[in-house]
Subunit: 105 residues, 2 copies
């Protein structure tokens, strides 16, 4: 988390225990990151299972090879939207998605 953001956070009047809420926020952020990483792994696994190159998937996604590489690398510039779209474009089955979640817990 950026320092500037933390500052704003503290500035905005807390109602309940600030530390607890702050920690809760961090936890939520960590959960989101973990979720993204799990889905990203599913993207790569699904793509390879279907014998698709990053270029192939990019074409289905209407994106570029470089962006697919960034998706699979867990690049911070990639949104959850794009990850899920990539997963769907790769033709992920429900089982693939479930598997991604099992990895989390």
């Amino acid at each position: 988390m950026k320092p500037t953001k933390m500052k704003r956070l503290r500035a905005a009047g807390w109602k309940t225990g600030s530390t607890a809420e702050f920690l809760g926020l961090s936890e939520a952020e960590a959960a989101l990151v973990e979720l993204k990483l799990a889905l990203v792994a599913a993207v790569r696994a699904t793509r390879q299972k279907r014998g698709l190159s990053q270029t192939d998937l990019a074409q289905r996604l209407r994106s570029s090879q470089s962006r697919v590489a960034k998706i699979e690398a867990g690049d911070a510039s990639v949104s959850l939207d794009l990850i899920v779209r990539a997963l769907l474009a790769a033709g992920a089955s429900r089982k693939d998605v479930e598997k991604a979640f099992v990895a989390i817990e």
Copy 2:
């Protein structure tokens, strides 16, 4: 989908049956929309279950009441990232998030 996008889509040389791939893309987009709506419903349900107002949730999210309203209204300007962050900020368990995601199919 925007007309300009469709045009580009057709322009870019298709390798396999264009209609099939095009339909596949639409399906993926529809699935994403459905997923968002499912998560959005979960946000509202979780928030209300915890007795939080939109303003309360906005504070936890470090966003604004208006954006929380847009999230719950399924506004097109809201990303999947924000929806999931809202869900986590509302205090949804990881299982709740998983449940919504598995609904993709």
